[in-house]
């Protein structure tokens, strides 16, 4: 595809349990901090896993124009996380969006052309606010005390605010972000679990490369720190239920004694631009996005047998798209769910594609520090990968020791390590459904 335009990364926005904003997140990662602790936003003591990664306190008003504050009441937590990420990404890119202009925080230079500014924001299955919904449902008890659908239809449902549904549609992450920042070009909402962010960034890459937009804000966000979002994977046996008393040690990707995942909230949005657009406005360029590959394990709803085939194919396609191979990759970022069989499948995939090379390339995973924030997890991994490449530094990967005997990843322990990184690859995949995708970034060279 030689006719394609080059696409570069010029802005990074993160909301993570270890920090808001790319700089705070990165510094905390280098310090090997952990953002997982006992859940504070609700009483988790009825659930088998009582720990998660919640965002540090913040005020939404700091991230939106004043005129938009009244819209906060129709935002589920997932949407708020995306809006926070979008602010940080635009600020970091010094991109003069409507939000920054209205807040008086614009940089020198003209506003971004909204008709050439797109959005591609991955989202999860947003859980309804349980207190709100359960409270309303509880008003529709029949004479026997049980829930009565008839009573719900006549009067119960009126206890829900008229705009109730709009809080929980997954596309509302992108809709609020595009309104706040005035992004009118191609707009998508990819909902593929933990693969969502990689798929969204990859699709935005293609959109920019073929010229359908000049700038795109892309990635994903999700909040899994609510009762329903914890109960569901608890039912699937995916959560670590054995380490509630030591949350900082609970998420152990690829470790021999890994015991299940720990949930989190958070997200990442990046500003991608065509190279010409970035150069014309004198933007700082973190890296060039050079490869995207997507594939499916084709194994159905939850079977992990042969799941590694889809991940291998995604890695190979991304490398091929970047016209490179494992010998030219200097950093690998696996997902690392911390679930026994998922990590086993992922290791098989990486070992198969990278072979001996995997033992000689630094690796990183953020799961031990920030847990699994679903549709936003891949974007945080991608941002960490871009920062590592940009700063020639590999951050430590928490709780990856002692490694699984099959693990060939060269994770860094305790302190960051300097490394010359020209190309890096990051993988994301849906824990159920089979979707996988990989992205390759390269140090920018004119």
């Amino acid at each position: 595809m030689s006719a394609d335009r080059r696409v570069v990364i010029t802005g990074l926005g993160v909301a993570s349990p270890i920090g808001l904003g790319a700089d705070a997140f990165w510094e905390a990662l280098l310090r090997n901090e952990c953002g997982l602790k006992r859940i504070e936003s609700f009483d988790p003591s009825g659930l088998p896993c009582t720990i998660a990664g919640e965002l540090p306190p913040f005020s939404l008003g700091d991230f939106i124009p004043k005129a938009y504050r009244k819209s906060a009441k129709v935002m589920a937590r997932d949407i708020i996380v995306a809006v926070v990420c979008a602010y940080h990404a635009a600020r970091d890119a010094r991109l003069n969006t409507k939000c920054l202009i209205e807040r008086g925080e614009a940089a020198d230079g003209p506003p971004v052309d909204s008709t050439r500014f797109g959005a591609n924001i991955g989202a999860g299955l947003i859980c309804a606010d349980l207190s709100e919904l359960a409270g309303a449902l509880s008003t529709a008890r029949g004479d026997d005390g049980a829930f009565s659908l008839k009573k719900w239809g006549t009067e119960g449902m009126t206890n829900l605010t008229p705009l109730w549904l709009l809080k929980f549609l997954p596309n509302m992450l992108a809709c609020h972000v595009t309104i706040v920042h005035d992004a009118q070009a191609p707009s998508n909402t990819i909902t593929c679990g933990e693969a969502s962010s990689h798929l969204a960034i990859g699709e935005a890459f293609r959109t920019l490369a073929r010229g359908d937009a000049d700038v795109c804000i892309c990635g994903g966000a999700e909040s899994k720190t609510n009762p329903m979002a914890v109960a569901r994977p608890a039912l699937w046996g995916r959560l670590n239920v054995a380490d509630n008393d030591r949350p900082d040690r609970a998420s152990r990707p690829f470790a021999a004694d890994r015991a299940g995942m720990v949930l989190a909230e958070g997200g990442g949005l990046v500003i991608l631009e065509s190279l010409n657009h970035a150069m014309a406005r004198g933007a700082r360029i973190y890296a060039e996005l050079v490869g995207f590959g997507a594939a499916s394990s084709a194994t159905g709803e939850s079977s992990l047998k042969d799941a590694h085939h889809g991940l291998s194919l995604a890695l190979r396609k991304a490398l091929s798209d970047a016209v490179t191979d494992p010998s030219e990759i200097d950093l690998v970022t696996p997902f690392g769910a911390g679930i026994s069989e998922h990590d086993a499948a992922e290791m098989t995939a990486w070992n198969g594609v990278f072979g001996y090379r995997l033992s000689h390339v630094p690796a990183m995973t953020t799961r031990g520090a920030i847990g699994n924030n679903g549709a936003g997890a891949g974007a945080i991994d991608f941002i960490a990968t871009v920062l590592a490449l940009h700063r020639n530094t590999v951050p430590p990967s928490r709780n990856t020791q002692p490694p699984d005997p099959a693990c060939r990843f060269q994770f860094v322990k305790d302190d960051p390590r300097d490394a010359r990184i020209r190309q890096a690859i990051s993988l994301g995949y849906a824990l159920a459904g089979g979707q996988g995708a990989a992205l390759v970034v390269r140090k920018f060279e004119e």
Binding site: M1, N188, G433
Partner: protein, 426 residues
């Protein structure tokens, strides 16, 4: 192509029913909606996955209603494309791009857990006790049913069924989702990331919370006493859309790949535009700027002028706001041609399939091209001065369609337009 609709399952049978103006609405039977503001819907009837998959349906025993619809529609489409167990494409180059909705919530169990989490006082809003709730929820919620609510599961089922190992994506841009899916699938093929894409959408929101959500938004028609005539796109007396359900699946294929195997080519997907209103969560931009930009982007990408379009499959939901602004947007884009292009909304007959709507509508565009006939907008009686275009009222019309444009506009302002045209064999 394949579909599962409130008017049935086979392409030609449903198509003929649409051309005859048949309607698929009836009182809601999937749950007791008798006291809801809207007590009817356009449901898929007499659907059994075994009828489509045979014994293989057992492989998808836990599949949600969404996934079942998609499996059936894709099985029909796969066969229609001429693929079989013996003659099938390279799995690594077969991808999936769906506009798949979230699987229906397991409402009875959810409500029971919710009530268990609230204290036993009636008639007042009581704060939830999450500890009590959790104990009940872990007993009541069924793991497989919970898993099947994930919106990417339908794509997972299809991948397993057709051994599709290529790109697998699900979008959920509300009512625009399956139009978006087909547009992005076209680009995946153009870029060389797959040779064959199984694309379209699937959705059912005919469950208590789905209807609750739309009723609270006052988006649904409440003509409970006359459900067959309730969906009235572009009519002055319209009062909201009618909720439908189903799936539409198309097999998209790279041209040389299709030629190489001697495939029957139904039409060419030539244009796609995606935009955002970036205006308000609750309202469409009053000038229709997002819809205008989506149609213009699709025309530009197809290399077409408005004069090349013979038929528009409108989003045409039957809400006051959509139909007025969509008509305005069409006038803006098509200028003098706007009054001369045939426009219809099949939502008048099958309701609004939400995420699946665009795919089903695109299939009707392909059939219009194939058969030289366009479907009617039924229930059209009273003209609206704000909707002054040719909506093909009540009667199907013979019309040579060289190219057709299909609009889908999502809640929140994500807009997508596709253009298909008769395949030119030269």
């Amino acid at each position: 192509m394949g579909w599962v609709t409130p008017l049935g399952f086979d392409i030609d049978g449903v198509w003929n029913r649409m051309l005859a103006g048949e309607r698929g609405m009836c009182p809601t039977a999937l749950f007791d909606a008798s006291t809801f503001p809207t007590s009817f819907s356009a449901q898929v009837k007499d659907f059994r996955l075994e009828d489509f998959l045979g014994p293989a349906a057992a492989d998808h025993a836990f599949a949600s209603r969404n996934s079942r619809f998609a499996l059936a529609a894709a099985t029909l489409a796969w066969k229609d494309a001429g693929f079989s167990e013996l003659d099938r494409p390279d799995p690594a180059n077969v991808g999936i791009y769906l506009g798949g909705g979230e699987g229906p919530l397991d409402f009875d169990q959810f409500a029971a857990a919710a009530l268990a989490g609230c204290r036993e006082e009636c008639g007042e809003l009581i704060p939830l006790d999450t500890v009590r709730w959790a104990k009940a929820a872990l007993q009541l919620l069924r793991p497989k049913d919970e898993l099947e609510q994930e919106p990417n599961l339908a794509g997972g089922h299809l991948a397993a069924r057709f051994n599709a190992q290529g790109p697998n994506v699900n979008t959920l841009t509300a009512c625009a989702a399956s139009t978006q899916a087909i547009g992005e699938a076209m680009h995946i093929i153009r870029h060389g990331d797959a040779d064959v894409m199984i694309s379209g959408g699937t959705h059912s929101m005919i469950h208590p919370l789905g209807v609750t959500g739309f009723n609270r938004l006052t988006a649904l028609s409440t003509r409970n006493d006359s459900c067959l005539t309730a969906s009235r796109p572009f009519d002055r007396t319209r009062d909201g859309f009618v909720l439908g359900e189903g799936s539409g699946i198309l097999i998209l294929e790279e041209l040389e790949h299709a030629r190489g195997r001697g495939a029957k080519i139904l039409a060419e997907v030539v244009g796609y535009g995606s935009t955002a209103d970036a205006f308000r969560i609750t309202d469409i931009h009053e000038d229709g700027r997002g819809g205008i930009a989506a149609m213009r982007a699709a025309l530009k990408s197809a290399g077409h002028a408005p004069a090349d379009i013979d038929y528009i499959s409108a989003h045409g939901t039957g809400t006051e706001e959509n139909d007025k602004i969509e008509s305005l947007a069409i006038r803006q884009v098509f200028g003098d041609r706007a009054k001369h292009v045939a426009i219809s909304s099949i939502k008048s007959m099958i309701g609004h399939l939400i995420a699946a709507a665009g795919a089903v509508e695109l299939i009707t565009c392909v059939l219009a091209i194939r058969d030289g006939v366009v479907p009617p907008t039924v229930n059209y009686q009273t003209p609206d001065p704000n909707c002054d275009l040719d909506y093909v009222p009540n009667q199907a019309r013979k019309l040579k369609v060289r190219a057709a444009l299909s609009n889908s506009f999502g809640f929140g302002g994500q807009n997508d337009t596709l253009i298909v045209r008769a395949f030119d064999r030269t």
